[in-house]
């Protein structure tokens, strides 16, 4: 068009109109450690944080509570005082009392110790078992894998509660230890499946070959090299397993098969309180709500961990 001729004289031929290949400023990012990245991610999830805080408070409640609050006599009976038996929640007895005048708050704390202990210990046993089985199955593959997975299938097919009821009635004696072992025996399957999957995928990666060329033996490969990479899903599974184990123990105890007197857990408190539920409903509500909120918090934390751990590999 015509304007260009006029413009030509006004403009210099060195029009700075286009960016030549610029050098982008070097971006120096301070790398956070992996742990820090995961922690930051987790903290962003408010629900998970609430769950984690609740769990911490719960632990303190159950384990430190008795000494701190002075409600530390779960078995002390107050049979003589009418106002102290079947008392609804009050300042003196925040969770009320049962028909023998026993302090429900104290019982909740001590029972919580058992419930949490059983849940965690059985989870740890199950995870160790599951990781071991899964690692072997995934690493060696072939017949070993096949056999172990068939075994897993069988265990998963049988309805868990029914079997546990029968076995619990027959083999356990009401102590936490027997219940822990029983629950653990059936808890390893999902962890095993998980770990096997991870191992199958990871064993073909280069870092495994690299370690092999340096002379690493099988065991070392499995547990020093591959396992840390599979840690994420295992941790998530562990959290959720804890919550289902706590439920399992509660169910068993409620039906009279798990924890029995003189031991107490939230489940057994439900068992005891059911008969009195019409006149003293708090005997039901206290353990029931404690179980619910514990499970809810564990689920929230587990989901939060899953979100925090999962994509951390892709962050640069």
């Amino acid at each position: 068009m015509d304007i260009s001729e006029n413009l030509d004289s006004i403009l210099s031929t060195q029009d700075e109109l286009e960016p030549l290949l610029e050098e982008s400023p070097a971006l120096v990012q301070k790398r956070r450690s992996q742990g820090r990245i995961i922690f930051d991610r987790f903290v962003r999830n408010k629900a998970a944080v609430v769950g984690a805080v609740f769990l911490i408070l719960l632990f303190l409640f159950c384990f430190l509570g008795p000494t701190v609050t002075g409600h530390n006599k779960p078995d002390q009976q107050n049979l003589t005082s009418v106002t102290d038996t079947l008392a609804p929640p009050s300042w003196k007895y925040p969770f009320g009392t049962d028909d023998l005048g026993r302090d429900e708050l104290a019982r909740a704390m001590v029972g919580g110790q058992t419930s949490l202990l059983v849940g965690l210990s059985s989870m740890l046993m199950a995870i160790v078992l599951g990781v071991g089985i899964g690692a072997f199955a995934g690493f060696y593959g072939g017949i070993v894998d096949n056999l172990l997975m068939r075994l897993t299938d069988v265990v998963l097919s049988v309805p868990l509660y029914l079997l546990l009821f029968v076995l619990s009635a027959t083999f356990t004696d009401g102590t936490p230890r027997s219940v822990i072992i029983l629950i653990a025996i059936f808890g390893w399957t999902i962890a095993a499946r998980l770990v096997r999957g991870e191992f199958l995928a990871l064993k073909e990666r280069e870092f495994v070959y690299a370690a092999r060329t340096v002379g690493a033996k099988d065991f070392r490969l499995m547990f020093r090299h591959i396992l840390p990479n599979a840690a994420g899903p295992i941790i998530v599974n562990a959290t959720l397993l804890t919550s289902s184990n706590i439920i399992l123990e509660s169910v068993l105890s409620y039906f009279g098969f798990g924890i029995k007197l003189p031991n107490a857990s939230w489940g057994s408190m439900l068992n005891y309180g059911e008969n009195l539920a019409d006149v003293a409903p708090w005997l039901i509500y206290v353990p029931a709500l404690l179980i619910f909120f514990t499970v809810l918090s564990l689920n929230l934390v587990g989901d939060g961990l899953r979100d925090a751990l999962d994509p951390y590999m892709t962050e640069r």
Partner: protein, 365 residues
């Protein structure tokens, strides 16, 4: 109705994101006559698909918004119509086929029913009548063994066959306008020609206007009456097909045409590209959007050029202040080009010598 079947006037379609509005279509104007075949070309991200979706009002409303302009179809502004009226137009007056035939058909519905559905909605046919029409349509689009295939499911067809089914669906109710959004991009090369011929043939036969969206200029040449070139959400040039190929006037069009490798040029010569990348549509530049990449650019280009017809060629419009046929402009552009190439080489050498002196590990690009 006037001369045009469809008039898009200063259409603006924006997408709301956390960072602001992405102006995918930012003032697009063009028109289509009845029975005319128009190509809408441009690179990925230039807004041609969004324009097509806007005409059908299929843009997802929460992030998307029709921020301005009008789309006049048969004397009605489609942007002002109530949704129920728009539904009658979709499939009934305007048909659309999409890019990936593998995912565009409902996997749990037999294809006969999928074609018949439109007939039942718009032409109010009964189920049986609709299925009979559907069978005929399938024959017309070239599906063999129709009697057996009418009840088959999409996964039992190949990609090319599925696209034929899509064409049957789009044209079932004999719409006035067919919009084809990159209909052959996802298909085998051998099948591409067949599908394009099919579309072209049916449109000619029934007098259906066609908007063919593509980034492949080769496709455009044989099929269309007119070409509209889009860049960064705006129309930059528009002309009858032969005129555009013979006499391109916008630097972007020039670049596009030059970048197509030709059979008659020396082998092993460098591919010509257009340097740079399209602008960020969140904060588009206020002037001509092609300016940063344009070798012809002048200071005046900092103002947005209007889409105006060429002197003496009312059918040929361009949005550029400059005359690229002017030898002075061409000389200036050539200078710019050489300077650019030299600068690139210098920067490349600088980078190589840096990497040679600093580390020995290979860099991944």
């Amino acid at each position: 109705m006037g001369e045009y079947l469809l008039e898009v006037q200063d259409l603006k379609t924006y997408f709301k994101t956390k960072a602001g509005y992405v102006r995918a279509v930012d003032g697009v104007t063009f028109a289509v006559k009845p029975g005319e075949k128009v190509a809408l070309v441009g690179e990925s991200g230039c807004g041609k698909s969004v324009t097509a979706l806007s005409i059908m009002r299929l843009v997802a409303q929460p992030p998307g918004e029709y921020a301005g302009g009008s789309i006049i179809f048969e004397d009605q502004d489609l942007l002002e119509l109530p949704e129920s009226a728009m539904r009658r137009i979709r499939g009934g007056k305007i048909g659309m086929i999409f890019q990936d035939p593998m995912t565009c058909l409902n996997p749990t519905m037999p294809i006969g029913k999928q074609i018949a559905e439109g007939l039942q909605i718009h032409l109010k046919l009964s189920k049986d009548e609709a299925l009979k029409r559907a069978t005929k349509l399938l024959e017309e689009v070239g599906i063999p063994d129709v009697a057996n295939r009418i009840n088959a499911y999409p996964h039992q067809f190949s990609g090319g066959m599925r696209q034929r089914v899509m064409i049957a669906i789009a044209l079932a109710c004999n719409p006035k306008l067919l919009i084809a959004d990159e209909p052959t991009t996802a298909l085998d090369v051998t099948v591409q020609a067949q599908i394009l011929e099919l579309i072209s043939g049916i449109c000619s036969e029934f007098g259906t206007a066609l908007i063919l969206i593509t980034h492949d200029l080769g496709v455009v040449a044989g099929m269309t009456d007119r070409v509209i070139v889009m860049y960064a959400g705006r129309v930059v040039e528009e002309a009858p097909t032969e005129e555009l190929f013979a006499n391109p006037r916008h630097p972007y069009t020039l670049g596009l045409l030059n970048s197509v490798p030709r059979l008659d040029e020396a082998g092993h010569s460098e591919l010509r590209t257009i340097e740079g990348a399209p602008p960020d549509l969140l904060r588009p530049p206020t002037g001509c959007r092609f300016m940063p990449r344009c070798i012809y650019a002048r200071n005046i280009c900092r103002q947005m050029p209007p889409l105006e017809p060429l002197v003496g060629h009312s059918e040929h419009r361009k949005a550029c202040w400059l005359d690229v046929t002017d030898p002075k402009e061409q000389a200036h552009a050539e200078q710019r080009r050489q300077a650019r190439i030299a600068a690139q080489r210098a920067a490349l050498e600088a980078a190589m010598s840096n990497s040679n002196s600093s580390s020995t590990t290979a860099r991944s690009s």
